[in-house]
Point group: D2
Chain length 488, copies 4
């Protein structure tokens, strides 16, 4: 069953989320103006699956169900699948200009698929089978899955079991015949309120004392004991205002949620790791590699919109042909394509896991993400340079529509005469949304912290490099080791 965007949206109405927003419990969150744009962004992933010319990108044949499946719920069965993932993400970034939230689930699915396989090999457990069954259910119902990894972490200098409060990392508090009970919280949960299921995973390497924290399982978002608290985003209440200009991107937006797990019961057939501390790091690193690859897609797509908006503002201001403007636009393209090139390279250079699905090249995926922690910030800076100060000084749409003063604004905030003041307004607020406002968390903060902060990438880059090999090359060239005889 493949849902349309509309069916997906309707399916959400069937959930009984315990969701809070701005201090209030939200019953009908589907039609809430603050939340709806984030649902629309997810809905786009369903819509694309029905667009014939994007079918190859947006869907694939599942070897589990032997049916056509949305790529966001599919296994990567080849490097070609990895490449298509990245290209699909770029396309979605271009169509929404924000985070469309489903990548975490897709990446979690693939990381758990191969890790459960290897846990079973090592420990004689049956996680992989359970996981395949759950995944079949997800694919067959075309559900939206949210991946839940990041714990709230308390004191970053202390391990899970060393925290003042034992709940600062998700752990099981009871192990029963029929399942386990879990407690804790997951922070920065992208799109959690728009998902049917969430996949809980540990967030870091575990040691013996942390055994209770090595837990992975699937939980319906409306399960008993789950509370979702919606995170504030810059300018969020503009969505409650009249008009559609000031918000910048009226249709689409990201979503970050704080998930509280207050003694949630999970039956065994939904538990995929429970105490195997030796596989916690593998799960984290495989997920991270996938997700660092992902940014080589989506952030390039969002960047495309920002570049287009910036070029448009240059047009509207009459400076598009100025040499420094052309140079800055070319630089924006260059940085965006560098990100995408890294996303493609780590995909093409992927490798097959023991379970049979494919991982992106770990080193290059980390390189990709480290560039993402830098370049979108420079793109924002360049966009702000070209767009001009009006970005943060333009009066409200209400002033623009005002019977007495609207005429002044229309007269005085016009750029080149051929373009309406309203068009200039809209382009300015779009850039504002991406650099300061509602989309800035998607484009800036997520680029920085999503899939791990820059230092995490630095560490992986160091670890994934065979430095002894490079040193050997140097010693040979330097003549410390025997020099290579080229004529030999």
């Amino acid at each position: 069953m493949s849902m349309t965007a509309k069916e997906y949206l309707e399916s959400l109405r069937g959930l009984k989320l315990n969701l809070y927003l701005l201090g209030e419990r939200v019953e009908n969150w589907v039609d809430n103006p603050i939340i709806r744009p984030s649902i629309n962004a997810v809905a786009m992933t369903y819509k694309l699956a029905h667009e014939p010319h994007h079918e190859g990108l947006a869907t694939t044949d599942s070897t589990l169900t032997e049916k056509r499946t949305n790529r966001f719920n599919a296994l990567f069965e080849s490097t070609d699948d990895l490449v298509k993932k990245v290209k699909l993400q770029r396309l979605l970034g271009q169509r929404t200009a924000c985070c469309f939230q489903r990548c975490v689930g897709m990446d979690a699915i693939n990381a758990l698929y191969s890790t459960t396989y290897e846990i079973d090999q090592a420990h004689g457990t049956e996680y992989h089978h359970r996981f395949r069954e759950w995944l079949k259910y997800v694919q067959e119902n075309d559900l939206c899955v949210s991946g839940a990894m990041t714990d709230v972490k308390g004191d970053r200098g202390a391990a899970p079991s060393e925290q003042a409060d034992p709940d600062l990392f998700v752990h099981w508090v009871e192990r029963r015949r029929d399942g386990i009970t879990v407690r804790g919280a997951k922070a920065h949960q992208t799109g959690a309120a728009n998902a049917h299921e969430m996949l809980i995973m540990p967030t870091l390497r575990m040691r013996e004392a942390d055994r209770d924290y090595a837990v992975s399982c699937a939980i319906p978002t409306d399960a008993q004991g789950v509370t979702l608290i919606y995170g504030r985003q810059p300018c969020d209440t503009r969505k409650l205002e009249e008009g559609d200009i000031d918000v910048g991107n009226y249709n689409f937006g990201g979503q970050e949620v704080l998930i509280i797990l207050d003694d949630v019961f999970v039956p065994w057939d939904r538990v995929f790791m429970c105490g195997e501390i030796d596989f916690s790091a593998m799960l984290v690193e495989r997920f991270a590699a996938y997700h660092r690859q992902s940014y080589g897609g989506c952030k390039a797509g969002i960047g495309d919109v920002l570049i287009g908006a910036t070029a448009s503002m240059a047009d509207y201001n009459g400076i598009r042909r100025a040499a420094h403007v052309r140079d800055k636009l070319a630089e924006m393209i260059h940085l965006t394509e560098t990100i995408h090139a890294c996303g493609l390279a780590c995909s093409y250079e992927g490798w097959r896991t023991l379970a049979g699905n494919y991982q992106a090249n770990t080193l290059l995926a980390n390189v990709c993400k480290l560039n993402v922690t830098r370049f979108p910030y420079e793109l924002c800076r360049l966009a702000e340079d070209i767009a001009g100060g009006l970005l943060v000084t333009i009066p409200s749409e209400k002033d623009f529509r005002h019977p007495a003063i609207g005429k002044y604004i229309d007269k005085y905030l016009r750029g080149v005469p051929e373009v309406s003041t309203e068009a200039r307004y809209r382009m300015l607020t779009l850039i504002h949304a991406m650099t300061f406002g509602l989309e800035a968390p998607s484009y800036r903060t997520e680029s920085m912290h999503g899939a791990g902060s820059p230092q995490a990438q630095k560490i992986m880059i160091e670890r994934e490099t065979d430095m002894e090999h490079k040193q050997k090359l140097a010693r040979s060239i330097a003549g410390i080791d025997a020099r290579e005889d080229v004529l030999a």
Copy 2:
């Protein structure tokens, strides 16, 4: 007469501003929660003048009135005055963490003082005398002056007289026996609604056809025909919400206004330039040099707060001693001090105008500002790196205060156990305000566009350099010209 902060605030109540905000005419703008923080920021410039240990920075002896005068209304009578200006600005940036809005007026006063002197020398006019009289009045009444330079500009590729609409640059539409009538608009007017007076100046070099646009004059902010339209800022309506956390910087904020001049009459004794196109560029460049110097003060001060906030977040997260965190904090300091060093250097290297007041070194002031268009963006990026993703995912204060879910937030969003969750909340929202929210225009966009966009500085740096001298040095060393005989 030297006003206290309170007296300044009360003095505003006497003005009859025609001010619009979010589509409505605001009668009592002094107590409007969106506007008040910006008034507080200006009020700080009055407060400091009464703090004995800052008296030397915040006030000076006026040679016009022979009384102690607020530095913001004073002439720079030495390089020492220029240095004190920059140090005062840093102090104010530290105390408000935002734009305190009075620098434009101070810089406009000094630029007009010397330019009117030279116009009179060249044209036999009496602008300088008029200006001195007006300035005496300002000093004696301790008024707040706003400098109004930036025209709305329409098509950037066309001169004032070539625009489709002749009003896109401020110009006079009538010249009468008793004065002139001016029409047009000034955009991005920092603190205009918090000022008693505004100083109109042309915004660029003029040519013969632009004669009507070469106009400078002083206008009370509540004069007949003046309309002020308040610019939106990111997260502005958070100031209307209950609570004091989400807004980040509860007390202080910047202000940008669109000023409409709809046939405003100005008597001759308030007119300081009227058609002298040959002095338009001088006025612009002198003002720009002062204002590019200014950023070497205020942005360093705001940067100090951001550095302190970032270090605090590192403390609260338990990562302050991590090598990469220390390195990033040191980098933030380094960039901030580089900005300040440039601000100091251009001040110490200032020069005396014919009128007797001092200008900052033009080349170094432009170098200062060009660094400002880059470094605060990198500071924001580093602050976001260290602060963590919670910056844009933290729930609202209302959730935190909520009887049912507040306890979850308090429990789970705590960092190191010694620091309260509320403190961490407050520090996060402060950094949010500076990088995304209400203070971001002060710290980011103003750094980019205030006193001219980066390309303007590049042009001035090129123009202010004696390249032929440098080429001569190279030719001599290279032996193309005669080499220097060191033993001669």
Copy 3:
């Protein structure tokens, strides 16, 4: 026939080059100590072809001869061939730590292959057939081919036909029944003195008046009228000194030659373009795209050696575990892998020409090269940081071997006690060679100017981007064009 490295070297002795070096005609250039390392570097491309485990990279099946052929003389018949090219280049960079010189020829061969095909389609000429025949001869004899594109150019502001001296771009001076006579010079000719053949190509887009300059042909390096003048490289005469340390990389080096063509006759079967100005730009751009791709391989390989050398110096100095050193090494890896990722991405995303061979993706190849104009410089800076000042203050090997003072050097220039002073010496001089000395042109200047200077990449990046598409995306999101209805 596949030559071994030794056979290649011997084959050079059969050439009668008219070669000048340091003001003297060189008869036996093969054994000249300044030139020999550059021959060794080329020889490595022959050696690899005989290493069984690199056979797949270093050779390929030729569809022309139906024999195994050195990849440097082969057509790219798939994107896989493009990827292998880049990986082969990285391997060679690692083995030589310098420019191995044959890429220009390989890239020229492929660019001419497809361009001659399209010229023939458009003009009914027979260049493609001639070119295939010549290429068969090259493949069958396993010759080394040098690509000769860069004209000396005189005044960069003037077209070929507008120069004060008509010979500043290569052109034909006579067109005869049996062939043409060409005159002019080609500058910066990498490895020209180590090649058997050179492929002359025009260097820029031509206009009607430049018809005589649109010329491409193959010329043996020892043809009548050809003079080769060897370019100086930093520290070149160190190769004439006793000892093997100071030179840094004793075995390998690059080579740049100024080629003079003083009325050289070329028979028609070696002429591949002669006046078709409408295809000059295509040839240049196709060659440039290939060659910009190339740098994603070789410069990553050379970078590997520099990283290894830098890590070794950190070991020898006892600072390898210092946090800032680890951070800088990780940064060096990150930048190097970013370059390589771009090289891989443009290869995987290649496209098939009408003639049937494959081109790298033009946009991404330019993005690759633009990064190359930046990152190796930063790698050098970081290497110099970690290596320490001794890099340019260490005494000569002769001092180190000196009976009286050698003991002082041995005693005092030791780092950690486990490593000999000589090893430290060798590692320092290797880094010196790569950052200042004999390999610096290969790693720095070639990265900047090879395959076109950065501005050329900026222009191509601008040209290859569908900006209207990006603007359309922005207009739709902004609501200027109709917004996408996600539920439709």
Copy 4:
């Protein structure tokens, strides 16, 4: 007595240096072509003292001798002296385009002056008096003093007393009635062979076990037991070749020497610290602050020459007005002036020591130097971009002068027709010298490592910052501490 440049040069002949260069003892080093340019560079500091219009910069009144003294031997008696120092250094950088070597001595003199004063205060010693006497002697004889701080250091992870070889830091081996005997080596000693005296200083903070290493004293460069070994520089032997083009900067150059102290006896009146480990760090930090200030002068001056040379190459190539070239030249100026601004700022903000001389502001001096470790590298990169690949591919001067092939070079390597090929040659080799060759150590490596490597500046920047104050500012704004009441 104030020496002329010629007298200085002659005075060197009176020294009996034990100096080695390229494996040989050099008797007449004054006329040695490799060494002479470095002597010329020092001689320029003597020449300037006799140029009437630079007298104020180059000389000053000594309060010790009450005579006019060369600034390089003078105490900084005001912030004005500090500013003049930096401006003098810029002037000398412009006139020599390399390191003129005397700053280390000047900075050592001033650091020892104040430190000996404070040692005496704390320990009741008489170092300060001795030092004043020695300084009087130096001033009266107008001697050239070399500051010798950097030990060879062996394993960087071990303290002086922990090294495998106890001599890897300079220490005294005997304490006698009449003086001490010192042993060890000093590396990277700028201009040591051109000095009459050297001032030995410890290189880092000492602990109890390192007492024998806390030693400072003055030693004549030709004292018994001193051996000087000349460091190699890139392209050094070009100075031995015929012609004056290839060397790039024919007249001037830097010098780095390895000093061996093989049981050198120093009488007590030349000993200025001997075991006072508690003052080792003070001496190092004061010297470092002075020397980090220095780079804000000299590197700006050398940068001026590079900028001039680059602009000239743009002229010669006919691309000077291209937008990207102008932008890059403006960037080069911007970076150079930023360095100088920091040098000026730390000088103007200097402070008076207890002994009465002035120190540069420590924080800003470190900020200055940290910029210097970055910007000259970018300047080199931009210079290489604009100069073109010919920088490292141009044939030798001998080829250019060659009867048979010289005409080809003259014809083909001409740029715009108005400029001779020889001028272009000379400008290219000058840029080559500064970026790769003989001046590259002065402009690149010294910028990196002179006065301490970048990490040393990061540490000082961290230490010199009152972070608690910044955190307090943030806490107040955030409302964690009480918010400031602006109306109070």
